[in-house]
Point group: C3
Chain length 201, copies 3
């Protein structure tokens, strides 16, 4: 297998179905950021201090992030059907619910950190939120461009698969919940933001 | 406590004072990047090889980064007064001055790296600079949009709290200084950029 | 040496040749992202599990990334000649070719992760791709702005040094190849993306 093909050296590339796009387009930014997030999840999974079900959860999340990337790289859903549905989000919600009552209830913001694992999970949390912003930007771009860009109008799409955005929104809450559990199981106290109001209800 | 509320699934969210904004707005990008930086600072603090005063400094910086995030998420300062002033920047300057003479004087650029701790601090340095760019972009956006966006004109703001930008600018210099100290205390020599001019004076 | 100069507190800064630019300009975004990437490469190099030639490769890459940064920070090539040529890319290709046959041939996408070292290399891979996108965006900006921005027209440049973009494109393929080798040498199996097609040929 020859990995490099040199075809992308001039700043353009292909998406699913072989349509050509600029590498700095909002679509590539969105699935590229999902790929970056996926790498940070891999990093967290390789940290010391994970427990077996956490490893499984993170690996499942990595599989779903590939599904997200697939859907964001897909313009023509007749040929390439979407892979994300409501179920991965519901799966996350059930895990969050299970973790929610393990650490003490929280009223204030906490400093992102603690054990190396919890810190890695907070990095995942905030990179997830960056990925979410790039997906929202991609949707704004689709709204504006749908009349003008030939490859988009092939399926007259006006928004990306909404289940991707929903999943990614919930995913940052998952990382918050699980980072707190990681500190709690390691007997490491979360440090409160001193000037926080009562923000969690 | 229920962490997830599902309200942000459609790409909009709230800032201080409950004004609604798009998640990909320049404002959210700015405080979201501060939150990401804060997580990398947490990561550095959990690395091997920190010394006690470094841990305290990083934790203090995390508190200030929350103040920065608060000010960037604030549009109406009558209800939510700014928290950052000139003092946190002066505090950073005094620490930088204390660290400045510990490693040998430098003329060339150095490769960001060395010990794991120094490497983490260089990651913090460059993510700080990314956060600074997002704040500058937010200010440009405020200049352009102040006549048109209702929620901004409530206080006719034309720039974000300038002490935030000042602090973040100094913060990347702090991380440069302290990364060099981390290598020096571990007897790890910084590797010079071979084709560097004499850039530090 | 006094690191901080306070001159950048208002959102502007200097490039090679002392031209003034906004910190959120596409140019600064591009070499700032290269600097961030360089820090993640330093992080990977300081991970457990590197082998001697990998350490040397990563350090050489860091030197080249500085050359890339120099070229992206250069507007007037009469005074500041470009440093990147086709050779660093050819050097990467020869290393990739050497690594290519070590792990088993691949047909499917793999989850980015495995050992801590392999995970760090996947982070480098995806940050490299983010840097590539920022360079493509910089080139688009140059196309549009060449008539209007005084400092750019001094050398009537319409694209950044093309060897930078070529190198950065190949660099992400290098990180993919070497991440697989890192897992292979540690007897860690790459996990396949379950719903992957046959994507590598
Ligand atoms: C999208 C994409 C990505 C996304 C993937 C995200 C995602 N989840 O989709 C991201 C950005 C992560 C990515 C990363 C990489 N990618 Co990529 N990617 C693509 C792209 C555009 C589409 C691949 C894809 O998933 N297609 C959709 C599937 C559904 O299509 P398909 O595989 O053709 O499958 C269809 C049919 O073949 C059939 N089918 C599939 N399997 C089977 C099996 C049987 C038995 C049958 C009958 C039918 C069948 O059904 C499918 C539906 O119609 C291709 C280029 C292209 N246009 O094909 C490059 C491509 C596969 N990538 C490539 C490369 C090099 C990479 C990276 C190594 C780049 C890097 N340096 O980081 C990484 C590797 C990542 C990893 N972890 O493994 C190269 C591979 C070159 C090669 N040697 O063959 C390609 C070909 C691009 C190129 N020309 O350079 N990539
Ligand atoms: C800004 C913000 C952030 C910023 C914080 C940065 C910063 N430094 O400000 C960032 C982006 C980091 C953030 C992150 C998160 N956030 Co947030 N955030 C907010 C937001 C918009 C404002 C919170 C705030 O600080 N308000 C300003 C303070 C000053 O206001 P206040 O608390 O109301 O305090 C006033 C009064 O209450 C009073 N007061 C305060 N304390 C006290 C005490 C007493 C005794 C009295 C009398 C009065 C009083 O004085 C204050 C000034 O008037 C709120 C939504 C909203 N509009 O309220 C969500 C919100 C608090 N966040 C939320 C969530 C879920 C999170 C995250 C977990 C998301 C994630 N997955 O990452 C993380 C957690 C981060 C952490 N490390 O803990 C949720 C909480 C939901 C819940 N269960 O209650 C909220 C409510 C948003 C929502 N609806 O989903 N957030
Ligand atoms: C581009 C740049 C960067 C880039 C470098 C990327 C790259 N590869 O180019 C990046 C973004 C990475 C960077 C980072 C930093 N930078 Co910087 N950077 C610059 C900048 C704009 C240009 C430096 C440069 O390389 N010039 C090009 C070279 C070729 O020019 P030159 O050194 O003048 O060399 C010429 C002549 O002097 C002569 N020459 C060179 N050497 C010799 C030797 C002899 C014997 C002779 C005769 C002639 C000669 O030939 C050259 C060609 O004409 C300067 C500001 C400026 N305009 O000078 C700041 C500057 C050097 N940076 C500065 C700082 C503080 C930093 C950071 C610490 C910031 C931070 N907090 O992260 C980091 C340190 C990074 C590190 N790892 O060491 C400060 C240094 C302040 C000081 N104390 O002196 C400067 C002066 C900016 C400022 N005013 O604040 N920087
Ligand atoms: C908790 C707070 O975080 C902010 N918020 C919500 N989504 C994102 C995101 N993707 N990136 C950054 N900040 C976000 C909103 O202001 C919310 O109220
Ligand atoms: C040291 C050099 O770094 C560049 N510089 C200054 N601020 C930033 C930032 N936030 N991000 C990236 N680069 C920056 C300028 O070119 C300066 O001269
Ligand atoms: C393997 C796939 O990755 C995508 N691709 C190519 N270059 C980049 C980049 N810099 N960032 C994100 N995605 C990219 C293209 O869709 C290519 O086909
Ligand atoms: Mg959310
Ligand atoms: Mg600065
Ligand atoms: Mg490529």
């Amino acid at each position: 297998m020859q990995i490099y093909t040199r075809v992308g050296d001039k700043g353009q590339t292909k998406i699913n179905g072989n349509y050509t796009v600029d590498k700095d387009s909002a679509r590539v930014e969105a699935y590229g950021t999902i790929d970056e997030l996926n790498s940070f999840v891999g990093r967290a999974a390789s940290s010391e201090g994970t427990w077996p079900t956490l490893k499984e959860e993170l690996q499942q999340i990595q599989q779903f992030l590939f599904d997200c990337g697939n859907d964001l790289a897909t313009s023509n859903t007749k040929k390439y059907p979407y892979r994300m549905s409501v179920e991965p989000t519901q799966w996350l919600e059930s895990i969050i619910d299970g973790y929610a009552d393990e650490p003490e209830p929280l009223e204030s913001f906490i400093l992102p950190g603690g054990t190396p694992l919890a810190s890695d999970l907070h990095v995942c949390r905030t990179v997830t939120r960056r990925a979410e912003r790039s997906i929202v930007a991609f949707n704004h771009y689709l709204e504006v461009s749908q009349e003008t860009e030939a490859y988009e109008t092939q399926r007259k799409e006006s928004e990306a698969n909404p289940y991707v955005q929903m999943f990614v929104n919930r995913l940052s809450d998952y990382f918050f919940a699980v980072a707190r559990v990681a500190n709690h199981r390691a007997d490491t106290k979360d440090v409160l933001y001193e000037r926080s109001g009562k923000v969690f209800h």
